[in-house]
Subunit: 155 residues, 2 copies
């Protein structure tokens, strides 16, 4: 859990852990605003250099992001063993930018999400880019720190 006043200073180890979580991410939990309250769903992700998702315009989170782009992403899935709270994970505060269809993004998306070929060309699917405002790494108990988009390798 991230701590209000007891964040560690950011160091290279924290940057490395956070950047690895981003590189390995293929999906995450997206929090959007819906009817004035948070609403969390699972989305597919690609987070190499920039954070991209392929979403359906039919999905509640997509219309919610159009109405209010402020959102959050939780990245880093626990393994099957051990206490999930000791596995590192990264919370991002971000703003979503609806892109829609994009041939370059389509090609790179299929490299990391090959199963998406089944639906990527459906008319309701398009891309969203997440501009990260801040990140919070929780590396397990007693290991929490705040990171900038620069620390995360996203700028």
């Amino acid at each position: 859990m991230t701590e209000n006043s007891n964040f560690r200073p950011v160091d290279d180890e924290a940057r490395d852990i956070a950047q690895s979580l981003l590189l390995e991410a293929r999906f995450g939990a997206l929090g959007v605003m819906l009817e004035g309250a948070p609403f969390v769903t699972r989305i597919a992700l690609s987070a190499d250099a920039e954070i991209i998702s392929l979403v359906s315009t039919l999905a509640q989170h997509t219309s919610a992001l159009k109405a209010n782009p402020r959102c959050s992403l939780l990245i880093g899935e626990p393994g099957a063993k051990g206490d999930p709270l000791t596995h590192p994970r990264l919370t991002l505060q971000a703003d979503a930018q609806i892109i829609g269809r994009d041939e370059n993004l389509r090609d790179s998306w299929l490299k990391t999400h090959p199963k998406a070929k089944l639906y990527i060309d459906f008319g309701d699917f398009g891309f969203v880019r997440f501009q990260v405002r801040a990140g919070f790494l929780n590396g397990g108990f007693g290991y929490a720190c705040q990171l900038s988009a620069i620390d995360l390798g996203l700028i």
Copy 2:
């Protein structure tokens, strides 16, 4: 992804899937309001008959829930194989009620989260109860429906 206008009617199959996800849940993604925007973190969960979490008062999500109890939970983790978007998951819209320390909850928590014995008695840890307002089951592509707390077996 849940769909605005194309929800299936709730049936026993949907209720069974959702209730199984709850029963099996040991952790989930919690979305809270922080500085006017969503903020998603991982928390431990127990969701048999009522939804309970053990949280630290030092955690950002705990102080955020004290300030604004409206929140969301994403439950149901994908397996290691296949497309995570085809695995069923459940989004809950809920209100958090801070309980603090409770001996009965402590005993039942340790049955489902035995590794928590390492920290459950730390002074900053206590329980939160989530009162569910509504649930959205996404059973994979084209399978989305809205469930009440009664459908979820929580009332």
